[in-house]
């Protein structure tokens, strides 16, 4: 698949108090960002666990990011710090098995940062476009090819 045909699937786990509001704001401001990002609202970025991140990749995501509040501003005090640690642990797993930890990232922003939300969506999309489709989806196609 050439890069031109590749429309990445990116899952964004967004904290309700910051990134999700920032996404609303980006919409109100009529900011354009790539339609590659699927938002999943979370009560806090600290709700994220490694299992959920891996599940997203298994279910076909080419990239995943967690967007939480600015450090020091978490509504639940430390949720974003804990999320960062779990994201880092999941990155190691993805590196180890060959999916690639680069496909997963943690971002911090506040609810008032609509333009930053759009910039993060663009940045992550560009990164995944550069990396290409997830090796897991390529492996799927390989299996289908074998079946044929």
């Amino acid at each position: 698949m050439s890069n031109r045909d590749f429309a990445p699937k990116i899952v964004a786990f967004c904290c309700y108090y910051c990134a999700y509001s920032a996404a609303d704001l980006a919409g109100s401001l009529r900011l354009q960002y790539p339609p590659t990002v699927r938002l999943i609202e979370q009560p806090c970025s600290g709700k994220i666990d490694i299992r959920l991140l891996l599940q997203a990749f298994e279910a076909g995501a080419d990239g995943v990011y967690v967007a939480g509040c600015l450090e020091g501003d978490c509504h639940f005090l430390q949720g974003n710090i804990r999320a960062k640690k779990r994201v880092n642990a999941a990155k190691k797993i993805l590196d180890k098995i060959g999916v690639g930890g680069e496909r997963l990232e943690m971002f911090n922003l506040s609810g008032s940062m609509g333009p930053r939300f759009a910039a993060i969506a663009t940045e992550m999309t560009e990164r995944i476009l550069r990396l290409g489709p997830s090796p897991l989806s390529t492996a799927d196609k390989g299996e289908e090819g074998k079946a044929e």
């Binding site: 299992r51 891996l54 599940q55 060959g98 897991l136 492996a139 299996e143």
Partner: protein, 223 residues
């Protein structure tokens, strides 16, 4: 609790080589508390296994189940209905759980996903330290509740060795157990108790004579 930690991933992968369907079994006991082998860890391990095998072109099917405890037969028997078509079991229990599964299912391969480390306590979330040497003949009553068997590098019974400096052990940067004992006994006004010489410990109660067993006739079910 029994504290355990995940084995190196390559070792786990090698132990499941060639299997097409694996039952990943978590344990809801000690290893769930020390965040090594509970339901969440079983899920992470199963997902990691599926993804890596898919990338290697050898996809594997997994089933996951987390038993209340893997060291009790009544829970391990629950696995029976999950075993159809399963080539092997990956157990996230301590060494006890793995063996109980092996004893109950003699015809199926069981691999450990964890290294069983020690009987220990939580120091803080994410940090555990050994507290009991399972010696079978507890001396905590003589040492103010601080175990010299496991917390002293030499398991000394009558005071510190010459390597104790400023309250620290010479072997590891740990507190000297005998310094801790001395301070505690002093605080409790029981220093005189330390003048009693402890005789050679009865190590026949220890773990060097094959598996130990405790039998309680009063609680056995004879039906």
């Amino acid at each position: 609790m029994i504290v355990a930690a995940a084995k190196p991933w390559e070792e786990i992968m090698a132990s499941l080589h060639g299997m097409h369907k694996v039952l990943v079994v978590g344990c809801g006991g000690c290893v769930a508390v020390c965040l090594a082998g509970g339901e969440k860890e079983a899920g992470i391990m199963a997902s990691t296994l599926r993804m890596q095998r898919k990338l290697q072109g050898e996809p594997v099917e997994t089933e996951e189940i987390t038993l209340t405890r893997q060291c009790d037969p009544e829970y391990v028997r629950e696995l029976g209905k999950k075993l159809e078509g399963v080539d092997g079991i990956l157990s996230l229990a301590c060494g006890v759980g793995v063996q109980v599964i092996a004893e109950h299912y003699p015809n199926i391969w069981v691999a450990p996903a964890l290294n069983t480390k020690f009987a220990g306590a939580t120091l803080e979330h994410g940090s555990w330290e050994e507290r009991c040497g399972l010696c079978g003949d507890c001396v905590l009553g003589q040492t103010g509740g601080i175990c010299p068997i496991i917390r002293c590098a030499k398991s000394l019974l009558n005071g510190p060795c010459g390597g104790s400096q400023d309250g620290k052990c010479e072997v590891k940067p740990n507190e000297c157990a005998w310094n801790l004992i001395y301070e505690r006994m002093g605080r409790l006004g029981r220093l005189n108790q330390l003048l009693e010489v402890a005789e050679a410990k009865d190590w026949s109660q220890g773990r060097d004579g094959g598996p130990r067993r405790v039998v309680r006739e009063d609680v056995k079910l004879d039906d």
